[in-house]
Amino acid sequence: MSVLSAEIDLPHLAAPPVLALEGVRKTVTVGFRRRRVEILKGVSLTVREGEVVGLLGPNGAGKTTTLKLVLGLMKPSAGSLSLALPRQALGYLPENPYFYDYLTGHEFLELCGRLFGMPREERQEKIAGLLRQVDLEQAARTQLRKYSKGMLQRIGIAQALVNDPAFVLLDEPMTGLDPVGRVEVKRIIESLRDAGKTILFNSHILADVAELCTHIAIMRGGVVVYEGSVEEALVGGAGDLEAFFMEVMRR
């Protein structure tokens, strides 16, 4: 929630949009015969400042493609995409992150800090803080190939936060983690939410979404079929987000 809306208790809609997609389509060519496949068929989605939006949907619904378009890894075939922030203000964690095997955690964060042009002193200070935040101080000098999946996920989150981003995009941040790893990652996302960051994350784990998000968007077949607050969704599903999700999928 923005500082202004929090102070005078305005409805959340008053917060300015950080991201707005309007009728975004994406077509790619696949295979030897270059067959055209439309992945996104007119995605419309708005993410406002301070919101934590969970992007839900079955595999192949277009969630990751949507994130890639926001990051500029792909270009939309049609429609409009407006991002109110420069790239310097974005943080991104890819799905199943796999970083450079022979770099240590500290060196990897050094690289990320350098890419943002951070001065040496500021970089060192920031890296020390991040390593503390994701509880990897002990493993800072260990090469990434020796990290567990949970540790990789945490160093992945640390690299996404190295520039102190205003808008954080997380692609399946909890997938494949053991219960301890999940709790640790959830704790980090909670701290980001409490710090007022805008977050958009893909997930299949509805319990986490219900716990962490303020809003959800449900995608099916390349379009957003539902967009609203978590409270509304819980009301719609009689207190059960999973029931609501299944209902939307059946519609």
Binding site: M74, R87, Y92, P94, F99, Y102, R114, L115
Partner: protein, 254 residues
């Protein structure tokens, strides 16, 4: 510039720590040591044999590093999705390509210089001759290999890693014959053959304009200005390859 340097440092650290590189260098050093045995078999030409065989080892193992590491450099980033992390930050596609090349070139320099120095020491220990001109020959070998790296990197932006490596080897081989192709155009009568020979000569880097071994002192080695001109030509070729690679990579979606 900051981003290019950051990517170059990262690439250098990644490639120089790779165990495969250590294995290749060990093989190269073993081959250089084997040149001692060859030298003992040759009558009166021991030092020459040792030097030439050593330089071939430097060139051959350098080529293996150049084509296989350069061929994989971009693909590995895409496959492991580390490229997503880089491009979600303020990093341009050109900066990525230049950074990757410069990092690998630094690794190649360490590898080639290390092997050259080892050869120099071996010759000094055995023949008690400090062959300073071997340093020039090693540096020229490095420039040749840098061209092969740039060409392989260019191919890897639009083909598979294996095909890019194979094409890199082909360009290296064709580069050794470049001058012969031009000579062919002079003796033939067919206009088509002449035209074709010129096209091949212009497209393929001329890697033998100077005989690297001939650059060694006491053998009528090339003049400094010739070496400088040839190096400038190869550097221009590298720049063209990298500009081409960046243009292709700019159109890529992930």
């Amino acid at each position: 510039m900051n981003q290019t340097l950051a990517i170059a440092i990262n690439t250098f650290k990644e490639t120089v720590r790779d165990r495969i590189l250590a294995v290749i260098v060990l093989f190269a050093l073993a081959m250089i040591i084997a040149s001692l045995w060859l030298a003992s078999l040759s009558l009166g030409q021991g030092m020459r044999m040792m030097r030439d065989f050593g330089l071939v080892a430097v060139s051959l193992f350098g080529l293996i590093v150049a084509v296989f590491v350069a061929g994989n450099l971009v693909h590995k980033e895409v496959e492991k999705r580390t490229v997503f992390v880089l491009f979600s930050k303020p990093v341009g596609r050109s900066e990525f390509i230049w950074g990757k090349f410069l990092g690998l070139a630094a690794t190649m320099f360490v590898v080639v210089a290390g092997m050259g120095l080892f050869l120099l020491v071996i010759i000094w220990l055995v023949a008690h001759v400090l062959l300073g001109s071997l340093i020039v020959a090693t540096l020229l070998t490095f420039v040749q290999l840098a061209v092969v790296m740039a060409v392989t990197l260019f191919f890897s932006t639009f083909t598979s890693a294996i095909l890019a490596s194979v094409l890199g080897v082909c360009v290296f081989a064709a580069g050794q014959l470049s001058t012969n192709v031009l000579a062919l155009s002079r003796v033939g009568h067919s206009a088509l053959l002449k035209g074709l020979s010129w096209v091949v000569f212009l497209l393929v880097p001329n890697l033998t304009a100077i005989d690297v071994k001939g650059a060694l002192a006491g053998e009528g080695g090339a003049h400094w200005s010739t070496i400088g001109g040839w190096t400038a030509y190869l550097l221009a070729y590298i720049v063209l390859c990298l500009v081409g690679a960046a243009l292709v990579f700019r159109r890529k979606e992930f």
